[in-house]
Amino acid sequence: MANRISLWLTVPLAVLVLVGGAAGLSGWSFDVVLPHVLPIGGGVALGLDRLSAFFLVIIAAGVLPCAVFAFAYTRHQKPERDGMTAALAAGMSLFIVSMACLVLARNVLTFLVFWEAMSLASYFLIMTENDRSETRRAGWLYAVMTHAGLACILLGFLTMAQSSGSLSMTAWAQAAAAIDPSKRNVAFVLVAAGFLSKAGAIPFHIWLPRAHPAAPSHISAVMSAVMIKLGVYGLVRIGFEWLGVGPRWWGVLILLIGAVSAVAGVLYAIIDSDLKRLLAYSTVENVGVILLGIGAGLIFHSYDLDSLAALSVAAALLHCLNHTIFKALLFLGAGAIVHATGTRNIEEMGGLLRRMPQTGALFLIGSLAISAMPPLNGFVSEWLTFQALLLSFRVPEQFVNLVFAIAIAALALTAGLAAACFVRAFGITFLAMPRSECVKQAHEVPWTMRLSMGVLAVLAAVLGIAPVVALRPLGYVTAQLLGEQPDLAFSLSGVVAGGSFAAIAPGWVGLTLAVVIFAVWLGFRLTGGSLRKRYYDTWGCGRAVHSPNLEYTAAAFANPFKRVFAFLYRPVTAIEIWPHGESRLFVKTIKYRHESRSIIEEGIYAPLAAAIRRTSARIRAVQSGNVHSYLLYMFLVLVVLLLVAK
């Protein structure tokens, strides 16, 4: 019990972060240097500006509901695992603090310390249920990927520190124009790779689909909804501030990575039947959408189209916030489903809407929002991203125009596939009849779980109907970052992008939709109330029994996509048939196996891992276990050092 009290600690922390963010967005800022803490790297430097403040709000928006959700998650913990609750609370607190301080960091050492603290805290949180081997493997992969990312960031930062002669990022921004472009390019590629590996962009995404299902759901929610965004934060900082204005290809590179991540992410999500892994892949997709905005912004910035750049970045950052809200909602929804049914496999689900009506309705809102359906929040940011990409015709270079055309097509394909993906995720999980016993006995989850999801659903609706709430502060964020307000005009009811290029009034769309639907419904009530409604079996070609076996499965739903995009999935199909002994015409059992393979894992990571293994095996020859040879190595090293340092 005492351990459960420790969970309360995370709530005030998150509130504190929210207050800091709100203060920063309203214009409050500070810059402090504590030279006596960590004195080797110039001390701890923290600062608050509008961009940092916006990310503080994202952190708080994602963390608060998850902290509330954690209460119910730990309620049914076995007593012997009680210590785990305290560890969970401690890890969560460290996680929140390190994320919040990361966005405030203003010099290399502070940044790296909190970056590593964040990675370690999330590593321990993933390992909460470490009695399963799946979890341990996921944790290991995450640790490797995050440290490879850290190494890249470190190298890039050192390159910048060496060429600018300073460990402070503000100093880099001022010195950037004078630095050798090739060094800046090296620094950009390295640091961007590190940030993208945290953000989960393809090809650095491989840890997400393993780590998210392994962690407890509210932890997956925080990681997917919040931590991922800090990679995006880093990218925005280096692309627009710390490294100065870059060459055009920076933006083109990010745009293409975004396009690939968006399309491939959603294509992997659409065939997956593990609910949490599906959501993890959908995070890859959404990071792709965000990167499309940032890449477009970088390109516009390099052409001095700064108000367009500001529009693109505002769209990307709005999508960051929106994704935080609906992805946290969906992960918590998945957590509620796992809590109620004990399974993550959607092939075993079905009919949950009748058993968990409120969770179902909230999950539907999340699914609609992530599929960018009007009038919810995902629609607004995706719409803005589209307008930013469509406005690219103002760039006076044909090659770049065509790159943008590809990006538009990729975003459109992503939008369509995401809708299909969440029709499948919601439809197979919540509709029709239950496909297994454990799902049949499911019932509604505790109110704390529903409350945390409900708050997120309300936020999704508010940001969808009145995006001005987020767009006005974002205007100032981009103004501070790029020196120009975005090419946007907004009022309480509407948003206009690119002068007279595109306008939308999401609030009015929502209202009209609601009024029209209500009017039709009312019309029926008044005129057709006397008409009979009859409940009867589903029509089944004269079949006598209607059983869940006859329902369309998740695998079947995904099959058209599997066939159309077979070049990506590279499916392996194996059919084994065992006939009866008497006659081969009578079949006893059929075993059908259909798996898709990951091109990236087989093409990049497997050879890489094999190469590392081979090299280390060769190096191991040095480590013979013989003390005498170790003494010889030390002596040789000493001699070499003396010669070199002479």
């Binding site: 809407l353 009748r354 179902g360 609609l368 359906m373 009007p374 719409w383 589209f386 307008q387 044909q398 065509l402 055309a405 538009i408 097509a409 990729a410 975003l411 459109a412 394909l413 939008a415 369509g416 809708a419 299909a420 029709v423 499948r424 439809g427 919540f430 509709l431 029709a432 007279s500 290029f501 595109a502 306008a503 939308i504 009034a505 999401p506 769309v509 009209t512 939709l513 029209v516 639907i517 039709v520 419904w521 008409l531 409604k533 009859r534 409940y535 009867y536 079996d537 589903t538 029509w539 089944g540 070609c541 209607h546 006859l550 329902e551 369309y552 499965t553 058209p560 996509f561 159309v564």
Partner: protein
């Protein structure tokens, strides 16, 4: 006022367009065909019949018809039909319109899964696949049009395009038209993508998804489909052949707009009927090839703009 007239024209006229296409098809096939007004009779019949609802369904199934008709009614408000002046609510641009259609498809696909029969699920899965694959073509075609018009607002777009006398000599414009025409076939479930009058469940797409609906729910969905077809044809007619549509709110201009609209819709309706009579339905897994083809047309439209400017 003019907005209301226009809206009522779309909502009330949509079944007539369906009747016209059916009649033309019947005549082309040497049949006499049903009366032009038959779709209205069908709707009336459905509205007064009892509703049979599957026992396995949830509220999604009962809510979906309202969302579908609601999305179409809102879409009908933002498309300029007779005149570009005061003729449409400025709720949003052409991108919003596409998302409203996607919203309707989203709910229909959910409802298809709700009854728990294989047919419904099959329809949902196929409908979502076709919708998703059509999406890039739609957006690239929109991009091509917006390049020429400099805007994505529907009324502004038509106004700018109507000012260009050499519009139909423009290769990009024609390419965009053909790509959007193919997408229209896919989005509204016409041949060669889907057969609206099929009676075999295994070949159905749209019809399989709504197989469980009956009575007034079916009426709403059928009506919504008719409105969707009407709106797609209106868009094709008014964006690609923008002449004739009223530019003011004067009664004369609106009347001229009405005549022009009737001519455009009739032309498109006849061409659809000819097409549906002369081609067979494609195998499901040949549909992506068709949509890729239309995507390439749209992309060429964009490329031609950048290389000719």
């Amino acid at each position: 006022m003019i907005l209301l007239v226009q809206w009522l024209l779309v909502v009330a006229g949509a079944p007539l367009l369906v009747g016209f296409i059916r009649k033309t098809k019947a005549r082309l096939q040497g049949r006499c065909g049903a009366n032009l007004w038959q779709p209205y009779r069908d709707l009336r019949k459905l509205f007064i019949k009892e509703v049979v609802i599957s026992e396995t369904t949830s509220w999604i199934f009962r809510f979906t018809p309202y969302v579908v008709i609601g999305a179409m009614l809102v879409a009908a408000l933002i498309v300029p039909v007779l005149t570009t002046a005061g003729g449409a609510l400025s709720l949003g641009n052409i991108v919003l319109l596409m998302y409203l259609f996607l919203l309707a498809t989203f709910f229909l696909a959910l409802a298809g899964l709700d009854a728990g029969s294989s047919f419904g699920g099959m329809g949902s899965s196929r409908e979502m696949a076709v919708a998703a694959l059509a999406e890039p073509t739609v957006m690239i075609a929109i991009f091509a049009i917006s390049l020429r018009a400099g805007t994505t607002g529907l009324s502004d777009m038509i106004n700018v395009l109507a000012g260009d006398r050499l519009l139909l000599l423009n290769p990009g414009h024609l390419l965009a038209f053909f790509s959007l025409f193919i997408v229209t076939l896919a989005e509204t479930g016409r041949l060669p993508v889907d057969n609206p009058s099929t009676h075999l469940e295994l070949t159905m797409i749209h019809e399989a998804m709504i197989l469980e609906y009956s009575g007034r729910y079916l009426a709403l969905i059928e009506w919504a489909s008719a409105i969707k077809l009407f709106l797609f044809f209106t868009l094709l007619g008014n964006i690609f052949i923008p002449w004739g549509i009223g530019r003011t709110e004067q009664p004369a201009a609106v009347l001229l707009g009405l005549v022009a609209l009737v001519v455009k819709l009739a032309a498109l309706g006849v061409s659809l009927a000819v097409l549906e009579t002369s081609v067979a339905k494609l195998r499901l897994f040949r549909v992506p090839a068709l949509l890729t083809g239309s995507f390439m047309l749209a992309l060429l439209a964009v490329i031609s703009f950048f290389f000719l400017r």
